[in-house]
Amino acid sequence: MMSGEFIAFMGIALVAVIGGVLLLNLSNVMHMMVALVFTFVSIAGIYVLLSAEFVAAVQILIYAGAITIIMLFGIMLTRHEDTSEAPGSSWRKFAVFLGVLGFAAVLYFGIYNLDLPQMENTLHEKNTMQIGEALYSKFVIPFELTSVLLLVALIGSIMLAKKDDEKEGDKE
């Protein structure tokens, strides 16, 4: 059971969980983001273990690269020195914690009973090529739609970020 793969999994998973827990427990926003980068990267490792090399690459590119950077910009552009938690919301935290715990327990109950036999698969062979074939044949329409979505998001973000400037400009 203690195959090399398993050890690798345990290590990566540990890093991911620790990153998550740090996200929750650190008080400095910047530190939180850094902790999260660890998680994102280890998730990429998990993808590798799951024979999804291309996804792992994309994960690092998008999450560890793009999104984290955007978020860091977001933090820095806004007031981030305020790290104190809102007073009086501890009851809510506790309730949410209980809820999350229950939720996790139920799902774990489901996962625990799950017994998926491993099938022969060829995912690890020419993974990127397989993805490319699927994307450009079977999923070509969603793929194109995604590009539309990204374009919309791009324009939308610009509009949202700019519009008030103009308004403020008008006001002034």
Binding site: R92, V96, L98, G99, V100, G102, F103, A105, F109
Partner: protein, 618 residues
């Protein structure tokens, strides 16, 4: 006899006809009523004579089906029923005739006759019933007829109260009857008298159950026949027109209780406890009502208490296994008591008061009514050669043979009382000085006197159908073919007859001394308290209104508080709860998406946990 069912239909026709078209006929509606009751009478007589020569006839059809059980309705002509038919239709016809004169000038004359028709119909139906259910059916209808007639003068508050009281008091008894009847039904599987008797005789019913049902049914009889402790309605019922008192509250309906016990006699004889209960209640009622009758001043009330007392007598007879004695007295009593009431009505008609203190010396003025009243008085007092003598003698013998010396003693004392207060009544009304204010006193029209004469004749001679001297025809006939009813005539010691005679004569003599000759003080009771107690009828009414009525009212008010405060309070509480919940919910609406989603998520988590724990499906 096959067409005996038609007998009750004549009065029913009279009822419906007069109800619908009575207004047009005014006082001639009396002829409609008289004609139709006369038809009933003739037919009843035919049935009676036919019954002498042929066996019991019974015919039934299905009335209602409940599952496998079929409830039947029909009619039965046996000895008792045939006899009762004649008694009822006869008295009813006579009262119809009498009322033509008595109710003259009454605005609601047709209504009165319609009610009389309804009552007669119900009573005739009652005595023809072959099963308990049908008996109950008519039993209640009779009660309604009585109720309507008591409340005939509806604008009088007393009449209203009396009618209500009569209905409710008898209703209490009826519920007993209903329960007893239903319990018996589930034991026997039928309401038929025959089936019940057969089951009882075969020992299919547990002894305890027999006693229970018998006593419950007897409670029905107690209510209807004004036995202690449900007797108070009967004297109050005298608020009704006097002919009604004669018909319903003397001769027929109140005797229905006795009839019921007689009709179910085999059931009662199967339980000694039940019989003893009947005898004891009867004896208590007899002495108790008689003692109240000693001091009453209202002519009709004296007669009413005497009725109660006599009914107690009949119950005593039945309770002592004296079937014949009870039925015999029922018959003679129907005649002489109806006579007395009609005569009293005639007196009231003449002097327009019911208070005997205000009467006196009427003998000379009412040359017909006076002697007739005397005949009735002699008969009820048990003076030899009159009908009451023979029937009372039978009862005393039955009580003696029944082995209850104390009950026998009570019966003798009650007989003494009866003779005393009846002659007190007679002397106070007819002898002595005539009051100056009574000038326009005149005899009643012949329409009223004729029925009385018929009844007087019967009051004298009806006793001779069952005497120790001229044969016990009635008794033998009544029990013919039915051993469960006991012997036709019980030979009792001869001294009982002598005792009865002596007692009644003594009562008359004492009464004469006090009220006739006035040689004894009228304050014969001496102690005022005793007089007061008797005059106020042992405060039974007061006792009831202090206890039962008060408790019922109190309980009702208590429930009303519960309803208005507790039940409504719960409703208000629920409303308040919902409102609070709403306010809480409103507070939750902070406008923060995070809070909303937190709440939503917690809800989801709770649901998931519940589903996981219960396995998804309840």
């Amino acid at each position: 006899m096959e067409n005996a069912w038609i007998i009750p239909l004549f009065p029913l026709l009279s009822f419906l006809f007069l109800l619908l078209f009575g207004k047009r006929f005014k006082e001639s509606s009396a002829y409609v009523g008289m004609l139709l009751t006369f038809a009933s009478l003739v037919y009843s007589l035919l049935v009676l004579f036919e019954r002498f020569s042929s066996p019991t006839y019974k015919q039934e059809g299905v009335w209602l089906t409940i599952g496998d059980v079929q409830l039947t309705a029909g009619f039965e002509v046996n000895q008792l029923n045939a006899l009762m038919l004649v008694i009822v239709s006869l008295v009813s016809f006579l009262v119809h005739t009498y009322s033509k004169g008595y109710m003259h000038g009454e605005e609601r004359f047709p209504v009165f006759y319609a009610y009389l028709g309804l009552f007669t119909f119900a009573m005739l139906g009652l005595v023809l019933s072959p099963n308990l259910l049908q008996t109950y059916f008519f039993w209640e209808l009779v009660g309604v007829g009585s109720f309507l007639l008591i409340g005939f003068y509806f604008y009088k508050d007393e009449a209203k109260a009396a009618a209500k009281k009569a209905f409710i008091m008898t209703r209490i008894g009826d519920v007993g009857l209903l329960i007893g009847m239903i319990l018996l039904f589930w034991q026997v599987g039928s309401f038929e008298y025959d089936a019940i008797f057969a089951a009882v005789a075969a020992g299919e019913v547990a002894q305890g159950m027999i006693t229970l049902t018998a006593i419950l049914i007897f409670i029905g009889a107690v209510g209807k026949s004004g036995q202690f402790p449900l007797h108070t309605w009967l004297p109050d019922a005298m608020e009704g027109p006097t002919p009604v008192s004669a018909l319903i509250h003397a001769a027929t309906m109140v005797a229905a209780g006795v009839y019921l016990v007689a009709a179910l006699f085999p059931l009662f004889t199967a339980s000694d406890v039940a019989l003893t209960t009947i005898a004891v209640i009867g004896a208590i009622t007899a002495i108790f009502a008689a003692s109240i009758g000693l001091v009453q001043t209202d002519i009709k009330r004296v007669l009413a208490y005497s009725t109660v007392s006599q009914l107690g007598y009949m119950m005593l007879a039945l309770g002592s296994a004296g079937y014949v004695a009870g039925v015999f007295h029922l018959m003679t009593h129907a005649f002489f008591k109806a006579l007395l009431f009609l005569a009293a009505g005639s007196v009231i008609h003449a002097v327009h008061t019911q208070n005997i203190e205000e009467m006196g010396g009427l003998w000379k003025k009412l040359r017909v009514t006076g002697p007739l009243f005397l005949i009735g008085t002699l008969a009820i007092s048990g003076v030899p050669l009159f009908s009451g003598f023979f029937s009372k003698d039978e009862i005393l013998i039955a009580a003696w043979e029944g082995g209850h010396p104390i009950l026998f003693l009570l019966a003798v004392i009650a007989a003494f009382f009866t003779a005393f207060y009846m002659f007190r009544l007679f002397f106070m009304v007819f002898t002595g000085k005539s009051r100056s204010e009574m000038k326009n006193v005149h005899e009643s029209p012949s329409l009223m006197t004729l029925p009385m004469i018929v009844l007087a004749v019967l009051a004298v001679v009806s006793g001779y159908v069952n005497t120790p001297w001229f044969g016990t025809f009635l008794g033998d006939w009544l029990v013919e073919g039915n051993e469960a009813l006991g012997h036709g005539h019980v030979e009792g010691p001869a001294w009982i007859m002598i005792v009865a005679t002596v007692v009644s004569l003594a009562g008359i003599y004492l009464s004469w001394l006090i009220y006739g000759k006035k040689s004894l003080s009228r304050n014969w009771l001496g102690a005022q308290t005793l007089y007061k107690v008797l005059y106020n009828k042992y405060y039974i009414d007061e006792f009831y209104s202090m206890t039962i009525v008060k408790v019922t009212k109190g309980f009702s008010h208590f429930l009303r508080y519960i309803d208005t405060y507790l039940v409504e309070g719960i409703v208000l509480g629920v409303t308040a709860f919902v409102q609070t919940l709403g306010r809480l919910g409103a507070k939750l609406q902070t406008g923060q998406v995070q809070t909303y989603s937190a709440v939503a998520f917690i809800g989801l988590a709770i649901l998931m946990v519940i589903f996981a724990l219960t396995g998804g499906y309840l």
